[in-house]
Subunit: 659 residues, 2 copies
C-alpha cells in the first residue's frame, strides 16, 4: 500500500546513469537561479511601509530614503558576489568561500545560516504567494492555511520526482513576472505623465498610530527607520543563489555567471525601486494590524488587506476585475512558489554536501529513487510546513526570522573574499592582475563592512520580533553539526583495520534458546548443528516448573540429539538469566566465539507483532552489548507472512523493483 | 535511570517460591472481597435522586419504590450467587460458569463484560472517593483531576509491589465504613424518634426542572422511573466479587463463601435502605446540574455540591466541622479507593486467565518482578486514568458506562447456572439432593429473568447517556479476543514438530555484507570463516562507482583472503539488491542454508542510533521473510556503548539483579 502510494507520487525509480549535467545558457540560467531574488521584490516594499505606518502616515516621508538605502545595498551585494562567482566557479557559494578562507568553523556558521535561510525561503515565499492569490480571490481567505500547506506538499512531491523536471520549464514564470512588473511600473508612470495618476484603493484610508509610536524623535525615530530598513532588506534574499549555480553555466562559467548576476541586480533594483516609488505616489496604505486602517471595508479582524503589488495592479490597470490585474497576481504567486522551489533544490544539495563532510547524518547524502536527495527534501518540507503552521501563514511574522541568516552568510563570505584576495596578492606578480585584485578586494571589503553593519542593525531591530529564534537556532545547528562530525570522526578512528589481518576465534560455542519444543526450535537446532560448532547447548530458562517439566518430557519423546540445559530464574527474568549464562560462558572461554541462535516468528500483520517476539527482541538488543557474541535470528515464517511477502513482491515487480 | 526508578516504586524483585496461598477466615474475607459491593452504597442513592430531580422535586415520591426495587434485586442477586459459590468453588466466577455451561462464546462475552467492568470499577470508585474528599474539603476542588490521577497512580504502584501487601490490612477501612454508616443511620433515626429530625443543608433549596421533564405522565414518567432505577442498580456493582475469591476461603470453602455472601447482602441492603430513607427524610437535594439548585451558595458553575453521604453526615452529626463528619467522609473515601483496589486484583487475574486460554496476548500471563501480573495492572491503570480524564472525573458521567457490563455477566452466569442444574438433575438420584437442586434452579432462573430484564432496562434508558460506548466496546473486545485465539491456535497447529526429527541442511553458504573495509567488517569475515561454511562470499552493493573502486583498492591492500562480490544497484536500493542476490542463491541451492552476516554498530546514546544502522535494520527485517536464510548480527561495540553498559551493570548489581 505504502509502496504503491509512493510510486504514484514519486514515479518510477531512475537509474544512476541518468545523473548527467546539463549546461544552461544565460537567458535560461537567469530565470532559473534568479526567481528567488527577483520574487522578493513582491514583499520588500510592503514590509517597509508596514513598519513606517506603525506611527501613522507621517513617517512615510522616510520611505524613499530607506528604499534608496536598500538599492545601494543591493548594488554592493551584487558587485561583491560578482567577485565570488569569478573566484569560485565550483558552485560552493558562501559555504565554500567561508570554509576555504576562514576555516571549518566559519564554514559551519555559514552552513547553519544557509540551512535556516532555505527553510525560511520556503516558508516566506509560499506564504507570500498565497497572500497574493488571496488578494485576487479574497473569498479563499478561510482556507489560507490549507492552501499554504497544499503548496508545500505539491513542491515536495515535485522535487521528490527529481531534479530533471524542476529545471527549464521554470524559466517561463520568471519572465512572465519580470515583464508584468516592468509593464506595471511603465504603465503607471506613463499614466502619471499624462495626468491620470493611479490611485490605490487604500489611498483615502487613514491609519491609527500604534501606542508608543507617535511623535518619535532622535534615537527612537532612527530606530524605527532602521527597523523599516531591516524589513526592506528582504529584497536581498536569494541574491547569492547564482553563486551556488555556477557549474550549470556554459563556459566561461565565471564570466557568464557574473554577467547574469549583473542582469539580475539591475532587474531587482529597477523593479524594487519602481514598485516602491509607485506605491508611494499612488498612496498605497499597508499596515501591520488591519484594524488600524480607518476606512477599511469589511471586518478588519478576519478580512485580509490586499498586498501592495495587488493594490498597484488594480490601480494601474483599472480595478480588481481587469485581466491585467489577474495576470500580475498569478505571475507574482507563480514566481513566489518558484522561489520556494529553488530552496527545495538548494537545501538538500547543501545537506548532502554537509553529510558528505560528515556534519549531518549520512542519510542526507543518499539519493532517492528519482536521484533527488529525498531525505533532505522531506526534512525541509516538514520544518517549513511547521513554521507556516506556527505563524498562521503570516508573511510579516515569518519575515522576522528570515534576514538574519541571509546577512550572516553575506558577511562571512565577503570577509572570506577579502582574505582570498590577500592570499592571492601575496603571490601574484602581474601588475594588471594585481590591480584587478586590489579593486576586487576593495569591493569585497566594502561589502563585508556594509553587510556586517546591516547584520548588526537587523539583529538589534528584529531581535524581539522573532529573530531571537534564529539567534538560538543557528548556534544549536552549529553545535549539533560539530557533535555529529566528532562522533563520525571518532568512529572512523576506532574502526581503522589493525595491521595483521584477520584473527580467527579459536573455538565456537553455539547456544540455541528454547522456550517450547516446536518446529522453529527444531529448525534452529538443526541449523546450529549444521555449522558444526565445538559445543552446542540448548538453553531454556525455567519460569514455571510445570512448563519446564513438560518441555523435558517432549524433549525425550522427540529424541532430540542435543542435551537441554536449564537455567533457573526465580525472578522470572528471561533476559537477565540468559545474559548471565552467556557472560559466564564468555568468562570461561574469553578467546572463543559464542553464537546465540534465537528462533523468531515472522508475522505478516502489524498487530501480530504484539503477540510474539517481545522477549526475543529485548534479549537480542541486550546481547549485542556482550563482547565476543554473535546473535543469529532463525526466522520461522508464519502462514500470515506469505500473503504479505507475495503482496510486496507483486508490488515490487509491478513497480519495476528488483526484489 | 529507568531501572532505578522502577526499583524505588516497585521494590526488590521477589522469588517464585514466595507465591504461596494464604487462606482467609470469614471475618477477614468479608471486608477483603466486599469492599467493592459495600462501597457502592456510597453513590447509589444520590444517582437515583439525581435522575428523579431532573423534573424538579415532585417526582421524589417515586424514590422509596425505586429503592425497594433495588433492594429486591440485591436480594435476588445475592441468593443467586450463593448458588454459584457452592457449585463453583474454584473461583472462576461468572466467566467459569458461562464457559462451562453455555460454551466458549458466552464465556468470552462475560469476559469482555467483566474486563469493561473492572475498568469502570476503578474509574467510578476513585472518582466517587475523590468526590467525598472534596465534600469535606471543598477548597481542593480545583485539583480534582490531579487527585484522581494521583490515586490511580498510587494504586498502580501499590499493586505493582505485589499481592501480598494488598491483603489483610485492607480489612480495616471496610469495617470502619460499615460501622460509620450503620452508626450514621442509627443516630439519624434515633434523633428522629426523639423529635430532633436531621435536616440536610440543602433541605430548603428548590430545584428548577430541566426542560422536557415537567409534568410527565404515562410512558414518559415510567421511562424516568426506570432510568432512576437503572442508576440505583449501581448498588449491585461488585456483588459477584466474592464468587471470584472462593479459593481464598477456609474449608468448607463453598459454604463459608455462601455465608459471607449472605452477610454482605444483608449489610448492603441495610446500608442502602438506611441511607436512602434518611436522605429522603432529611430532604437532601442532589441534582445533575448544580445551577438548577435555587438556593445553592457559591458559584454553581465551578463549586461542587456535597455528596449525599456528606450531607447526611453533616446533618446527623451537627455540621461540616464535627469530628464524626470527617470520620464518615474519610471512611467513605477510603473504602471507595479500596474498591478500586479490588479491580486491580481482579483485572490482571482475569487477564492472565484469558491469556493462558490464549484469548489475550501472552504478556498478560507473565508475572512481574514482584509476582504480580504487572502488564495487566499497568493496562488497567492506563485505561481507567484515560476514562477519568475524558469524563473530567464526574461520577455521574462515568456511572453510565458501568452497569451494563455488570448485568451482562449477572444474566449470563445465572442462565449458565440454570443449565448447570439441568445437567446435574439428569444424573442425580438422591431425592434430598434433587430437592435442593430444584430449589437452586428456581432461584437462578428467577435471577436470570430479573437481571436479564434489568439489563434490557439499563441498555434502553442509559444508551444515549454514554452506555452506547460499552455496547460498542464489548463486541470489539469479544471479536478481538476471538481473533487472538484464532491466531495463536493457527500458529500452534503450524508449529507442531514433524515426525522424523531434525533434517540438517546439506550445505551452508555464508554471505558477509560489506559497506566499507573497517574492523567490524573484518571481524564479521573472521567470524563467518570460523564457522567453516561451504562457500563464503563478501558482498557489497555498488551505489557510487568511486566508493566501490576505493573498497576494491583497500581490499587488495589488506590482503583479505575472501574474494569480494559486487552487485550493481543502478537504482541505489541496497535492500532490494541484497534481497535479490540472496533470492537468486536460494533458487540455485534450494536445499541449502544461507547465513547472512551483518556487521552492526552498537551505540551507547540514543541519538547515535540516528547516525548508524538505518539500512542494516531495514535489511534485517526484510531478510527474515526469505526462506532458508539465517541472519547473524555481528556486533561492534563502539566506545560510547561501554559507558552505557557499565552503567547498566552497576545498576543491575546495586539493584540485586543477576545480569
Amino acid at each position: 500500500m505504502l509502496e504503491l502510494m509512493k510510486r504514484l507520487v514519486v514515479g518510477r525509480p531512475l537509474s544512476n546513469d541518468r545523473l548527467g549535467e546539463q549546461l544552461l545558457p544565460k537567458r535560461i540560467a537567469l530565470p532559473v537561479f534568479a526567481s528567488d531574488p527577483l520574487s522578493s521584490v513582491a514583499y520588500a516594499t510592503q514590509e517597509i511601509m508596514l513598519v513606517l505606518t506603525l506611527g501613522g502616515l507621517s513617517y512615510l516621508y522616510l520611505a524613499p530614503w530607506i528604499g534608496l538605502a536598500v538599492i545601494v545595498l543591493l548594488a554592493v551585494v551584487v558587485m561583491s558576489y560578482r567577485q565570488v562567482v569569478r573566484a569560485y566557479p565550483s558552485g560552493g557559494g558562501s559555504y565554500e568561500v567561508a570554509t576555504t578562507n576562514l576555516g571549518a568553523s566559519a564554514g559551519l556558521v555559514v552552513a547553519a545560516a544557509l540551512l535556516v535561510d532555505y527553510v525560511m525561503t520556503v516558508a516566506v515565499s509560499v506564504a507570500a504567494g498565497v497572500d497574493n492569490i488571496i488578494s485576487a480571490f479574497p473569498q479563499l481567505n478561510p482556507w489560507r492555511m490549507l492552501i499554504n500547506l497544499g503548496f508545500v506538499a505539491v513542491l515536495t512531491a515535485m522535487n521528490l520526482r527529481g531534479v530533471r523536471e524542476s529545471g527549464r520549464i521554470f524559466a517561463v514564470p520568471t519572465y512572465l513576472f519580470v515583464l508584468g512588473v516592468l509593464g506595471l511600473i511603465a504603465t503607471g508612470f506613463i499614466k502619471m505623465i499624462f495626468g491620470d495618476a493611479p490611485v490605490a484603493e487604500s489611498a483615502g484610508w487613514r491609519v491609527t498610530p500604534e501606542p508608543g509610536h507617535v511623535g518619535l524623535t532622535g534615537l527612537a525615530l532612527m530606530f524605527l527607520a532602521l527597523r523599516a530598513f531591516s524589513s526592506g532588506c528582504t529584497a536581498l534574499t536569494g541574491a547569492e543563489a547564482i553563486s551556488n549555480g555556477v557549474p550549470a553555466f556554459r563556459a566561461p562559467k565565471g564570466d557568464n555567471a557574473a554577467r547574469t548576476m549583473a542582469a539580475m541586480g539591475i532587474l531587482s533594483i529597477t523593479m524594487f525601486g519602481g514598485i516602491t516609488a509607485l506605491a508611494l505616489l499612488s498612496h498605497v496604505r499597508y499596515v501591520e494590524n488591519t484594524c488600524d486602517l480607518v476606512g477599511f471595508l469589511g471586518n478588519c479582524a478576519t478580512d485580509p488587506q490586499r498586498t501592495v503589488i495587488a493594490q498597484l495592479a488594480a490601480a494601474v490597470f483599472g480595478g480588481t476585475d481587469s485581466p491585467m490585474f489577474f495576470y500580475i497576481q498569478s505571475a507574482t504567486a507563480l514566481i513566489l512558489i518558484l522561489a520556494a522551489n529553488t530552496a527545495f533544490n538548494g537545501f538538500p544539495l547543501l545537506g548532502s554536501i554537509l553529510a558528505k563532510h560528515r556534519y549531518l547524518p549520512r542519510q542526507l547524502h543518499s539519493r532517492g529513487d528519482r536521484l533527488a536527495f529525498s531525505n533532505g527534501i522531506v526534512l525541509l518540507a516538514l520544518v517549513a510546513a511547521a513554521l507556516i503552521y506556527a505563524y498562521k501563514g503570516s508573511v510579516t511574522s515569518l519575515i522576522q526570522l528570515y534576514i538574519l541568516g541571509v546577512f550572516t552568510s553575506f558577511t562571512l563570505s565577503q570577509v572570506g573574499m577579502v582574505r582570498h584576495w590577500n592570499r592571492h596578492l601575496r603571490t601574484e606578480r602581474d601588475p594588471a592582475a594585481r590591480r584587478r585584485m586590489h579593486r576586487a578586494r576593495w569591493i569585497n571589503a566594502f561589502g563585508a563592512c556594509f553587510t556586517g553593519l546591516v547584520l548588526i542593525i537587523v539583529t538589534i531591530t528584529k531581535f524581539t520580533h522573532g529573530a531571537y529564534l534564529v539567534v538560538i537556532a543557528m548556534p544549536v545547528l552549529f553545535v549539533m553539526m560539530r557533535a555529529i562530525r566528532r562522533h563520525y570522526d571518532g568512529v572512523t578512528a576506532e574502526l581503522v583495520p589493525e595491521p595483521g589481518g584477520m584473527v580467527l576465534p579459536s573455538r565456537i560455542h553455539a547456544v540455541v534458546l528454547v522456550s517450547r519444543l516446536h518446529r522453529p526450535t527444531i529448525r534452529a537446532l538443526a541449523y546450529a548443528r549444521a555449522t558444526r560448532p565445538d559445543t552446542l547447548t540448548a538453553l531454556t530458562v525455567a519460569i514455571a516448573p510445570e512448563e519446564v517439566r513438560q518441555l523435558e518430557r517432549e524433549w525425550d519423546e522427540h529424541d532430540i540429539p542435543v542435551s537441554l540445559t536449564i537455567v533457573d530464574s526465580p525472578y522470572r527474568d528471561i533476559t537477565g538469566s540468559v545474559l548471565s549464562y552467556i557472560a559466564g560462558l564468555h568468562r570461561e572461554h574469553p578467546r572463543d566465539l559464542i553464537v546465540v541462535y534465537i528462533p523468531e516468528y515472522v508475522v505478516g500483520r502489524w498487530w501480530e507483532h504484539l503477540l510474539h517476539n517481545q522477549s526475543a527482541l529485548r534479549l537480542k538488543a541486550r546481547l549485542l552489548f556482550q563482547r565476543g557474541v554473535m546473535v543469529t535470528s532463525v526466522p520461522w515464517q508464519l502462514e500470515s507472512s506469505h500473503a504479505d511477502q507475495e503482496r510486496a513482491q507483486d508490488l515490487g515487480a509491478s513497480a519495476g523493483l528488483t526484489g
